[in-house]
């Protein structure tokens, strides 16, 4: 199997705080289309999945992401990721 034509893998997505409320789900398992290479690509695809997603990502610069529980940037590759989280800027402490 060549790398370029690898099967799209299923991916667990988890959402927190107002991202979770706008999407209406705490988590889900998805299979993004082939060519979804980065966090930014994934967000672009998620925005096409309904009003809740559009609202959650209306300002994608605000929403933070983590890949397998480590902070990630929009340009970070999602290759091999098992769990990707989306959430607002953090307000702990």
């Amino acid at each position: 199997m060549s790398m370029a034509t690898a099967e799209p893998a299923s991916l667990k997505l988890v959402y927190f705080a107002w991202v979770r409320e706008r999407i209406g789900l705490a988590d889900e398992t998805v299979t993004p289309p082939a060519g979804t290479a980065t966090i930014a690509d994934l967000v672009r695809w998620l925005k096409t999945r309904g009003e809740g997603y559009e609202l959650a990502f209306e300002n994608p610069a605000v929403v933070r992401a983590a890949i397998d529980q480590t902070h990630a940037k929009p340009a970070t590759a999602i290759t091999g990721a098992r769990e990707i989280a989306f959430f607002p800027p953090m307000t702990g402490g």
Binding site: A66, Q69, T70, H71, A85, G92
Partner: protein, 151 residues
């Protein structure tokens, strides 16, 4: 020295945590603790609800604590962060740093709190004094600036 990180719903006892962290190490000459409490915002709030990302909360605070342990010679480092519904006057977060001399302990505790605020996956939502559910607390630019001064 391996930092200790606990994410819990229950309250904590600062005195007991300091005693446990420093027990049996006579090289320790300085202990700095910071506790963050829930404010009532001039009577506006009934409580704060803290949501967190289980697993990542422990992992991320552990990474920040590990950076602090690499940066300062510490004999002990502990962070506790609570989740769930927390009322005004109740404790939310605790950081304790122990070292031979005070400077390292002060700086490590300050560093850990600054980064914990901007990197640990916790989100606060307001419950208002009139019984209604308020909004999500917005992140402050000041917190980002506080964290940036260490880089």
């Amino acid at each position: 020295m391996t930092p200790l990180v606990r994410i819990q719903r229950e309250d904590f006892d600062i005195g007991a945590e300091i005693a446990a962290l420093t027990a049996g190490d006579p090289s320790i000459g300085a202990v700095v603790s910071f506790a963050g409490l829930c404010r009532d915002e001039s009577g506006r709030l009934a409580a704060l609800e803290l949501e967190h990302y289980p697993g990542m909360a422990e992992a991320e605070i552990g990474r920040v604590a590990g950076e602090a342990a690499g940066r300062w010679p510490l004999a002990g480092l502990l962070a506790i962060h609570r989740f769930g519904l927390i009322k005004p006057g109740e404790q939310i977060v605790l950081v304790i740093a122990a070292s031979s001399h005070r400077r390292e302990a002060f700086e490590a505790a300050d560093f850990l709190m600054d980064y914990l605020k901007t990197r640990a996956p916790f989100w606060k939502r307001e419950h208002l004094a009139d019984g209604t559910l308020g909004g999500w607390v917005e992140a402050k630019d000041d917190d980002d600036k506080a964290a940036e001064r260490w880089s």
